[in-house]
């Protein structure tokens, strides 16, 4: 199985995640789209590790760092969503526009 299979699969996953981020109104749904994009990145990292020099573990090490970043991002993101909901009673991203303009 050539490397391009994994790369195209990851590209499709990334595009779907991007669509989710750009089109959803719910802030939690936007975070879900970001998760999909991060997962696509991880697939690429691991695929590059598997298809190049197996002795250098860089791809897997980067994937571990991406896991940590994703966990941190979700924790802070959801805390913000809950804080905004307490104050404004909404989680729709296009209604949270106090700081716009």
């Amino acid at each position: 199985m050539p490397l391009s299979w994994y790369l195209i699969f990851a590209a499709a996953l990334f595009s779907i995640g991007l669509y989710g981020v750009l089109s959803r109104r719910n802030a939690v749904a936007i975070l879900m789209g970001i998760e999909l994009m991060l997962n696509a990145v991880n697939i690429n990292l691991v695929a590059f590790w598997r298809y190049s020099d197996l002795a250098s573990i860089a791809g897997q090490a980067f994937a571990v760092v991406v896991f940590a970043v994703a966990a941190a991002e979700v924790a802070v993101g959801l805390a913000l969503v809950i804080a905004v909901y307490r104050r404004r009673e909404t989680v729709a991203a296009d209604e949270i526009n106090l700081m716009k303009w």
Partner: protein, 168 residues
């Protein structure tokens, strides 16, 4: 098509279908459950890539922690059980166009790249990659600095999340 390729196509189709459902399902809890299935599919892809450790960590971190957190957040930020109103914003058509263009461009570039036809090297000769990864993450010659920075980031995120979500 070999058995491995068949399994890959199966997992990829499942993951992409679940991902599409994540971004299109109006019901948020259902979208989160589809997200779990998509993340599980990615874990399956890691297994196909001989990265068993990352596959298991993917399940622990994403399904056991992140997805559960998301379901909690969805349930905590609503007054009624049902979602009301449209779930997509007015520019969703443009968003779909951008996503499709990105996918088209990436596929075009990838199929032209010389790396696209690369085949995987034999795996059976390699020593235990889990031990290798563990050593790399703590050895000063390799990734101890990024690893420690990531742990500091997690600590900072935890404190920040507690402070932001604290009921004053």
């Amino acid at each position: 098509m070999t058995g491995l390729e068949f399994v890959f196509v199966l997992i990829a189709a499942l993951t992409l279908f679940s991902a599409v459902m994540v971004v299109t399902t109006p019901n948020m809890v259902r979208a989160a459950l589809w997200l779990i299935l998509a993340l599980f599919g990615v874990a399956g892809t890691f297994v196909l890539l001989n990265a068993a450790f990352l596959a298991v960590v993917q399940v622990v971190v994403y399904i056991g922690a992140i997805a559960v957190l998301m379901i909690f957040a969805i349930m905590l930020t609503r007054k009624v059980m049902k979602d009301s109103g449209p779930q997509t914003n007015s520019t969703w058509g443009l968003a779909a166009l951008i996503a499709a263009a990105l996918f088209g461009g990436l596929t075009f570039a990838l199929t032209r790249s010389p790396a696209a036809t690369l085949m995987a090297p034999d795996f059976s000769t390699v020593s235990d990659p889990v031990a290798e990864l563990g050593r790399a993450l703590v050895s000063p010659q390799a990734y101890v600095i990024p690893f420690e920075v990531a742990s500091v980031l997690l600590l900072a995120a935890m404190i920040g999340a507690i402070y932001v979500a604290w009921k004053k």
